[in-house]
């Protein structure tokens, strides 16, 4: 190895070490509060699943088979919302209040890598939460729609959905000042929750054209639709390739805005 390449690789190794140490810190903290983490991520989809999938079905207010349609949507919802919450809330507090992030910003790694670690960690957490929803679904509903041939697409949708949530979280977390956190989150969170097609398939909205347009603007819709394409293909859905294309493009845009916002918060 020449000295020139040594000079280039040495910092790269150092940066990789710093990156893994920061990730290790986040995983350790999650592990040490695992019950809280699980309660936090499972409760909301659990209740949605129970009320809409089980209770309403048992009482005859929903058609037979609605829970099969709802379950893939809830996987999408869990992925996106968990990714967003994991990243946005702590980031707002760390930047605006506790300043905890400063020790990581002063680690020998580029500021973009600190942001990348946040995204990776939020994605991992969201993936875990979404995978946990599978046994939860079996327990609550008795059975869940499942197709082994659909698993690769389901996993891809889970990863993209988790990353989408993380990307939204990065954008929100760097834009919002702590004083506004409550207002902004309720303004973003609830619409996101109910316009992401997790509780209804998108093509069926043709009868409600304006709402169909609104939902088409929420990138979560494309996660829900991919999930249905994977697990309940008999339900009309947007073509998976369209979903993946939209998701990849949304991710690219969110990451650019988010990392830029992160730099603005990290460096004056």
């Amino acid at each position: 190895m020449t000295t020139a390449t040594a000079a280039v690789t040495a910092p790269a190794i150092k940066q990789r070490r710093a990156f893994t140490a920061v990730l290790r810190r986040d995983l350790l903290v999650t592990w040490s509060e695992l019950p809280v983490f699980l309660a936090q991520v499972i409760l909301q989809p659990l209740f949605l699943l129970f009320v809409f999938g089980k209770v309403l079905g048992s009482l005859g207010y929903t058609q037979h088979g609605y829970s099969d349609l709802l379950f893939p949507g809830l996987l999408a919802l869990t992925a996106v919302i968990t990714g967003m919450q994991t990243l946005a809330f702590p980031l707002v507090i760390e930047f605006g209040w506790t300043k905890e992030i400063e020790d990581r910003l002063l680690a020998p790694m580029s500021t973009a890598l600190v942001a990348a670690e946040k995204v990776l960690f939020a994605t991992l957490r969201a993936l875990t939460a979404t995978l946990v929803m599978i046994p939860v679904g079996i327990i609550v509903l008795g059975s869940i729609p499942w197709r082994w041939s659909g698993v690769p697409l389901m996993l891809l949708a889970m990863v993209l959905g988790s990353m989408l949530g993380a990307g939204l979280g990065l954008v929100l977390g760097t834009l919002v000042v702590p004083q506004r956190i409550n207002i902004v989150f309720s303004l973003v969170f609830t619409p996101l929750l109910f316009t992401g097609c997790s509780q209804y398939p998108w093509p069926s909205l043709a009868r409600l054209r304006w709402f169909q347009i609104v939902t088409a603007c929420n990138p979560m819709t494309y996660v829900s639709e991919s999930m249905r394409a994977a697990l309940v293909p008999e339900v009309p859905h947007i073509a998976p390739w369209v979903c993946i294309l939209v998701l990849v493009c949304s991710l690219a845009v969110l990451m650019v805005i988010g990392v830029r916002g992160f730099y603005r918060r990290a460096i004056d």
């Binding site: 150092k14 140490a21 810190r25 903290v29 905890e100 020790d103 002063l106 680690a107 020998p108 004056d268």
Partner: protein, 340 residues
């Protein structure tokens, strides 16, 4: 400015080199830091003194890669902080004014994870954490989370944490602001210990006493400019009329300072100004009057001439107090206003 003055008599490269550093924040009509230059030698303790808003924190922000300079250069440990911030971060450590400890981790893990971020092997980090926890009186509290720590304790943990990766330069922002006197003394002791071990320290403060006590050299900042930079003694020596001589005189029958005497004192060589002081009310049976002479040069040389003048009038001195100038006097002289 005495750029390089200290560095030249040492063989090592400077620990910190600042050259024409400017920072203007967006939407601000003025420069927060307005073209400052200085050099800090390895092992030196350098104090940046100035009121709030003088530009000290912004200067440290630029040196520690958290604020992007508008123009100018800064090197820390031989690394250009603007061009290679990632490498510069290995050279330095920062102890901020307010706690930024990781609240999800125990004190010990705050230390060991900081070391891990900086690539210190785990075994070394554990040993060093033990050592530093003991040194900072935190041995018993290693497993506690920092939420419940007082300002003084957090400060100690943050200094210990900063030392985990053995930085070449340690930056401390107002290290003892808001601490109680005991905690302040403890922090000062630890800083002096670091200085003995040759760690370069850069501290910002608006406490003149702290600057005079700890710093080898002090830079006085106001409105983003470095107004003076020297060893504290030289800054104070250069001050006209800042030594004082305070005389207490038995008043005899008359309690007022005779105005003719004030005139006579003013004519003594070296006296710049004479100020009659309010009467000492501690001892009403034994009235004194007091007067303060502002002197350029050594105040003690004026004790004999003033005593003679008094004796000629049948008055006797009952007390003499010599006052040395403080950095606050230097600051007031340079800026025309007080530090706080």
């Amino acid at each position: 400015m005495s750029r390089g003055a200290v560095a030249t008599d040492r063989t090592d490269a400077p620990a910190v080199e600042v050259d024409g550093l400017v920072k203007r924040y967006p939407k601000s009509p003025v420069n927060a830091v307005d073209g400052i230059s200085f050099t800090v030698a390895p092992g030196e303790v350098f104090g940046l003194l100035g009121p709030n808003g003088a530009g000290k924190t912004t200067t440290v922000g630029m040196l520690t890669t958290r604020v992007k300079p508008t123009s100018g250069h800064a090197m820390v440990g031989g690394v250009d902080v603007g061009a290679d911030p990632v490498r510069a971060r290995s050279m330095l450590a920062v102890v901020p004014q307010r706690s930024n400890l990781d609240r999800s981790l125990s004190i010990r893990r705050n230390l060991t994870f900081h070391a891990a971020y900086h690539g210190v092997p785990a075994a070394d980090a554990a040993a060093r954490a033990d050592e530093l926890l003991a040194q900072f009186g935190l041995r018993e509290r290693g497993d506690v989370k920092p939420d419940l720590f007082s300002g003084g304790q957090s400060q100690r943990v943050m200094i210990a944490r900063a030392l985990m990766h053995q930085p070449q330069v340690l930056f401390l922002d107002e290290p003892t602001t808001g601490l109680d006197p005991a905690a302040r003394l403890f922090v000062w002791d630890r800083l002096r210990e670091l200085r003995r071990r040759g760690v370069t320290l850069i501290l910002t403060t608006h406490d003149m006493h702290e600057a005079a006590l700890l710093a080898d050299r002090v830079g006085i900042m106001d409105h983003g400019k470095l107004l003076a930079l020297d060893i504290p003694e030289a800054l104070m020596r250069g001050l006209p009329g800042s030594s004082t001589l305070e005389l207490s005189v038995h008043a005899g029958g008359n309690g007022d300072a005779p105005s003719s005497l004030v005139g006579e004192f003013e004519r003594l060589p070296g006296v710049e100004r004479v100020e009659p002081l309010p009467e000492d009310e501690q001892e009403p049976d034994d009235p004194h009057w007091r007067v303060r002479l502002y002197v350029s040069g050594e105040a003690s040389t004026l004790v004999a001439p003033t005593a003679t003048l008094l004796a000629e009038r049948g008055l006797s001195l009952s007390g003499v107090e010599l006052g040395e100038p403080t950095l606050e006097d230097v600051f007031i002289h340079l800026t025309g206003r007080t530090l706080r």
